[in-house]
Subunit: 303 residues, 2 copies
């Protein structure tokens, strides 16, 4: 469980980062950016309705003078101004405030001032779980719904830089399924094997892919021993857990959050800079952790 | 976490049950039936190669004279003889020993001596999870791969008697998905809504169905409050978690087993008597718990 703390320590070795918040008049987001500031994780530029921002900040005893504020009461305009700050390099990462997800994503993908790279976007969630000795990166538990084989390649390619930014040079990628053998009646297993082959052939680089894998073989070295999986490239030591679809990913994500002892943080990737899209149901700690993860990733993107 | 213990206490109020083991020459199964005997959960009839059974038992210090043994060295024959004991009412539940799953299931489905009811078989796994105040029944995490709407109805109908046997009169069924609203682009959410409607129309009886539900709304009352889901029939108090497919179910199952503090036991249902099909990777405790669950369910099936 100390792995997330190590990551937080790493943030402090980075150059100080700045997060641009789209529509900052949101109490939960303001609390998260205050904590990020106080914990030396990142500074913030608040874009939105200045009067409302100040009113909410006052009600939460947040000293708003510590942040730069750009007054733009119109939500769409505020998101475009905020994302442009990141696009222009004046901020390092982009965060959703009190704007709906659809319009927030529109700003991310805006052709002129947005952060598109040509890649599809995907979501990655970093977990530090009690009983597992290394960090786990789950993709995609929130964004891509039913990724095709091609999109799974993209998810892997989007996720690798995030894992590398956290200090893991050649991540082990486990395309998960209910079983660890190919079953032609289970497309997820067939695609998992295809991804493995593509990696062996050098079509997916900078990682080791081994699938299909059941979750126990991916995360539990004892299970790998017990099942005699000693010829596998992954034996309970996967870094990236690639889910067959959003239902499997999201249900596992929520099972972990609600039943295990975890620390976690999530960002959107496939963009020019890390995007923080926390959800209503994320805890305060998760929101701060997401800013920290984004800061670590931004550090390597800037180089 | 005391709920599984309550279930074990319940077993002792039942008439003493007997489990027929197919191909009992298996060290893990022999240890499980010894523990079941010692803990007053159930007696066993061991069908298989008597010489091998005695040899393994001796090596494990198991007093084999406490069990009835039926000598049948041929595996297929042994499974048919064992399942016939259950079919004829001489035993109450049927357990897989050292026989492969395929042939074991053939014996379950045998037209003359097996346990078929006309229903499709499905798997149910009972969990007692630290932090969740009631028992959860997960279906199907191991058997049906991609259930159709009709098969999902069958899974619900197979699972209800198991939940009732554990003392819950009108179970709440949560057809799970990544989101709690219907999205036409996500078939799992559409089917979840259809199941809900079928229950409202009386086509699925003896339960309350409310879907689609995300996992947090299904198991966490606080999340339900936080998300303002106060108009839902299920608000963190689901009994049955119905998974969209085997990948989602199995990955959540393994996430719980490997990261949360849990007690669990599983059986196959849709049969005339409970069938215990534990897997290699199940712990010893899970195997014993599965016998206990089967005994509780057998008690109500006998009535």
């Amino acid at each position: 469980m100390g792995n997330f703390d190590k990551l937080l320590a790493k943030v402090k070795e980075c150059d100080r980062k700045k997060v641009a918040v789209a529509v900052a008049e949101d109490s939960e987001v303001l609390q998260a950016v205050r904590a990020a500031k106080e914990q030396d994780i990142a500074d913030a530029i608040l874009v939105g309705d200045e009067a409302k921002i100040k009113e909410i900040a006052a009600s939460l005893d947040i000293d708003v003078t510590q942040f730069e504020i750009i007054n733009e009461p119109d939500m769409i305009e505020a998101s475009l101004k905020a994302v442009k700050l990141v696009h222009d390099g004046e901020a390092d990462m982009y965060m959703k405030g009190g704007i709906d997800t659809k319009n927030f994503l529109k700003s991310v993908l805006n052709k002129e001032v947005g952060l598109r790279t040509g890649n599809a976007l995907s979501h990655v969630c970093l977990f530090d779980i009690k009983g597992i000795d290394h960090l786990l990166f789950l993709a995609d538990v929130a964004f891509m719904t039913y990724p095709t084989l091609e999109e799974k390649v993209q998810i892997i390619e989007n996720t690798i830089p995030v894992v590398k930014a956290c200090g893991i040079e050649c991540p082990k990628v486990a395309p998960l399924a209910a079983v660890e053998v190919v079953n032609p009646k289970m497309p997820a297993t067939v695609e998992a094997a295809e991804l493995t082959k593509m990696c062996e052939e050098g079509k997916i680089k900078d990682c080791i892919v081994d699938g299909p894998l059941s979750l126990d073989l991916a995360i539990d070295p004892e299970a790998a021993k017990h099942k005699g999986a000693l010829d596998r490239k992954i034996q309970g030591d996967a870094d990236i857990l690639l889910f067959p679809d959003i239902h499997a990913g999201n249900l596992v994500y929520k099972a972990l959050v609600h039943t295990a002892e975890v620390k976690n943080g999530c960002i959107l990737t496939g963009t020019k800079a890390p995007v923080i899209l926390t959800s209503r149901s994320d805890t305060f700690e998760t929101k701060v952790n997401s800013i920290a993860l984004a800061a670590v990733v931004a550090e390597t993107m800037n180089k």
